[in-house]
């Protein structure tokens, strides 16, 4: 990962104003910012790593822990709040046994709360793996998670079958 970041840094100019775009690119490729990655960026731009950390933690977009394979973002904007967005969040948390901002121990799921995804007319809304799920309900939470379970079981079965046939 660090090698990849090193290569990426070579292509970007050593200008302070590039700091945020660089961090965005790293996160896009590696899903989060590790302490080592931030040190590399600091070295590249000639600023202290605390400054990089300071900027990165200021913005909501940046993550400092690896997220799960499936990312669940629950919208808690005004419109979603009025129709019970927090209940949706709670349901995800209960079903997965983690709090918002955390990742399940098997690294399958992570939950985040977001301010507004701009689909207020379809509230409450959750974004699951970049797909916006409109008009959420606790039963729909179960449905979505069940879908992943079925998918995983099917994958495992197929894997076993292909191993058995070999």
């Amino acid at each position: 990962m660090l090698k990849d970041i090193d290569e990426m840094l070579l292509t970007s100019e050593k200008k302070r104003e590039n700091l945020i775009p660089i961090l965005q690119r790293i996160q896009q490729r590696h899903a989060y910012l590790s302490p080592d990655a931030m040190k590399l960026v600091a070295l590249h731009l000639g600023i202290s790593s605390s400054e990089v950390y300071g900027v990165a933690t200021f913005y909501n977009q940046f993550r400092f822990h690896p997220p799960g394979k499936h990312q669940i973002k629950v919208c808690l904007g005004t419109a979603c709040h009025v129709v019970g967005g927090d209940i949706i969040l709670e349901n995800f948390e209960r079903k997965l046994g983690i709090k918002d901002g955390e990742t399940t121990p098997d690294r399958e799921f992570s939950i985040e709360r977001v301010a507004c995804v701009g689909c207020c007319a379809l509230a409450p809304v959750a974004v699951v793996d970049d797909v916006v799920q409109a008009c959420m309900a606790p039963s729909k939470v179960e449905g979505i998670l069940l879908g992943f379970d079925i998918e995983r079981e099917r994958d495992e079965r197929e894997k076993q079958e292909s191993e058995a046939s070999q």
Binding site: K15, N18, Q24, Q61, T78, C116, C120, L122, P138, V141
Partner: protein, 643 residues
């Protein structure tokens, strides 16, 4: 100095000719055309599946038709929206077109000529067959200036914008001197749509006369207000209109650089605006020597990383310079010393998107719309408890009552209107007595709310104002950059007090403390975020004081929204024996069977999500809600037999 000459004109005419030809050629006369709204709202409602269903059914039936993805027309309640132009019929708009309906439409309408009246929203033109959309107050009372072409164009196709008269205003501006352009904007009375309503023309003039070699124009598309999404829609649905306004502005202030600061949370908008910049560059409408003149403009996109405070102009500039987005002291204002200490104009998406029409039709035309002090239109995203939520563009001066009850269809399920929250976290909550208030910058500010970014959340009797105030202060508390003590710590204290109140732990004197803290935060904060953060508290305290008192004195939430103060129960007289509908719906298995083979809720386990209320069949309607929670009947769970 004017820039346009006959060469420029000729070049532009060729461009338009080619665009018209391409658009003409792409239309296939005699074939049906299917337009699908595929902006974020449409996609969330399932437009991708709808499109796929159209494609599959068309292929299966061997029908040739063109499918054109378009932007959003703002009628979010009806998504996915589809417009079908079938030869021999008027253009018909269908709403809530799911995959199944899409298949049915192809078979019935395209194959057999039955327009399936049950799915129709309305025809787009006058005809003898189908009622038109103009019969709806929503279409009739709206006045579209900025969003006129949203949902009618393919946002990824510059030719469609050009063929419809696009970039003509840029040409017209180039035929004028920059001073003339600025004068036109001043005459039009256009005020910044970002919230504060500063006169746009005066801002441009200040930037033009400021000293600096490297002026910049920034389009502020960092729409952080939870509950507003019109900027996203404009970027996704008509990005070229924004670019044209941006170019006119840059020409007027003599800037050669422009930045579009857009939220990274809007991936589709980022993609659309990037593509539009590329296309305009290739057509010679942006970049070096626009249309062969001496005017050059390079436009870049900066993805904002999600900090609400970056909507404030000095914080936005800090963020562009790669720093933490902390607001700075003004003066110096950005028009004098902005990005890299150079004169910088920062305008909102809606402001810049209004510019092309003003230049094209003239200041006098624009002044006819709206009120004397706030000319033009306002775009609101009306969401929450209304029948027809979505984006609405209305002339300034329309009353709140007309907007909520006529255009958006009022409150669903025969509930009572309670309050409307205008302007997001910095706005205020207004009760029913304000329904005659005209919507414009000055009247709203006077009422204690503000135009803000145009977010409008309608609340009915089921919404608790204390809870909503807590929500907003939670948001601003999170987003406070931490620079000013009162904003950083004061909002935290307000949040703590409100959290106590919503949990039933409020005490006498809390309301006075809240008011005092709010006033202090307002006076002692540097930027707009802190100055306006207490607005939701102050307005709700003023208009809904009894609701706060019910929480504190009676431990009761009148709207039954605060979960710590409410309880669900099942009315044994109404509950039907043997019905199990609620049991399966409960996410925590809190519902058990009583000795009389009816159902009851274990209050210890209940998380108050309300699913059982939805699940209970309407003919029984046995699930009820009470506040304070002690009022719920206590029913013992029968001991399970040891097996």
């Amino acid at each position: 100095m004017k820039q346009a000459n006959s060469d420029v004109l000729e070049r532009f005419r060729t461009l338009i000719r080619q665009a018209r030809q391409t658009v003409q050629e792409s239309k296939e006369p005699g074939k049906p055309h299917i337009y699908i709204g595929m902006a974020t709202c449409g996609l969330a409602a399932g437009a991708t599946e709808t499109k796929q269903a159209f494609e599959e059914t068309l292929a299966e039936r061997g029908i040739e038709a063109r499918i054109i993805p378009v932007g959003c027309i703002g009628h979010c309640y009806g998504e996915p929206l589809v417009v079908i132009e079938n030869p021999g019929f008027p253009a018909i708009c269908y709403h809530k077109v799911t995959a199944g309906k899409a298949g049915a439409l192809v078979r019935a309408f395209l194959e057999e000529g039955d327009p399936l009246f049950e799915y129709v929203l309305g025809a787009l033109e006058e005809n003898d067959l189908i009622p038109t959309v103009m019969d709806f107050p929503r279409f009739n009372l709206e006045r579209r200036v900025v969003m006129a072409d949203c949902g009618a164009l393919d946002p990824e196709n510059i030719d469609q914008y050009l063929a419809g008269g696009g970039y003509e205003s840029l040409l017209k501006a180039l035929e004028m001197t920059p001073e003339e352009v600025i004068q036109e904007i001043i005459d039009s009375g256009l005020r910044g749509r970002g919230g504060a309503g500063f006169p746009t023309g005066r801002k441009w003039q200040a930037a033009r006369s400021a000293d600096g070699s490297r002026k910049t124009v920034i389009c502020n598309a960092d729409e952080g207000d939870p509950g507003a999404y019109m900027d996203r829609t404009i970027l996704e649905s008509n990005p070229h209109q924004l670019l044209e306004g941006l170019a006119v502005c840059a020409y007027a202030v003599e800037a050669e650089n422009a930045v579009i600061y857009v939220r990274a949370e809007y991936p589709l908008a980022v993609k659309m605006i990037r593509r539009a910049i590329d296309q305009a560059g290739q057509a010679g409408l942006l970049g070096a020597h626009i249309l062969g003149t001496r005017f050059s403009l390079s436009v870049s996109v900066f993805e904002g990383s999600g900090a609400f405070v970056c909507g404030e102009e000095t914080a936005l500039i800090q963020s562009l310079e790669g720093k933490r987005g902390m607001p700075q002291h003004r003066p110096p204002y950005p028009v004098h010393k902005g990005l890299w200490q150079q004169p910088t104009v920062i305008n909102n998406v809606k402001t810049l998107s209004s510019v092309p029409t003003i230049v094209k039709k003239g200041a006098a035309w624009y002044r006819q719309i709206g009120t004397q002090s706030s000319p033009g239109t306002a775009i609101f995203s009306v969401v929450g408890k209304v029948v027809h939520p979505g984006l609405v563009e209305i002339p300034m001066g329309t009353t709140l009552g007309r907007l909520i009850f006529e255009i958006c269809g009022g409150i669903p399920n025969r509930k009572k209107f309670k309050a409307v929250q205008i302007g997001g976290p910095s706005g205020g909550c207004l009760p029913e007595s304000f329904m005659d208030t005209p919507v414009d910058f000055d009247s709203l500010t006077q009422a204690g709310a503000m135009m803000g970014s145009g977010g409008m959340v309608v609340m009915d009797e089921d919404s608790c104002l204390v809870n909503v105030a807590r929500f907003f202060i939670d948001f601003t508390q999170n987003e406070s950059c931490g620079k000013c003590t009162f904003c950083r710590i004061g909002t935290r204290h307000i949040l703590n007090i409100l959290e106590r109140i919503t949990k039933g732990e409020g005490k006498e004197g809390d309301l006075e403390t809240l008011r005092e803290l709010s006033q202090d935060i307002k006076t002692a904060s540097l930027c707009g975020l802190g100055k306006t953060a207490p607005n939701p508290i102050l307005t709700s305290l003023e208009y809904f004081r009894e609701e706060y008192q019910a929480h504190i004195r009676e431990k009761r939430c009148p709207a039954m929204m605060c979960r710590a103060l409410t309880a669900f129960y099942i009315d044994l007289d109404k509950c039907a024996r043997g019905c199990d509908a609620c049991v399966g719906s409960c996410p925590v298995d809190a519902i058990f069977t009583t000795k009389g083979r009816k159902k009851a809720i274990d209050q210890e386990l209940c998380v108050k999500c309300g699913e059982c209320m939805v699940a209970c069949p309407t003919e029984y309607d046995a699930v009820g809600k009470v506040s304070p929670s002690e009022l719920a009947p206590v029913i013992e769970r029968p001991q399970e037999k040891a097996s």
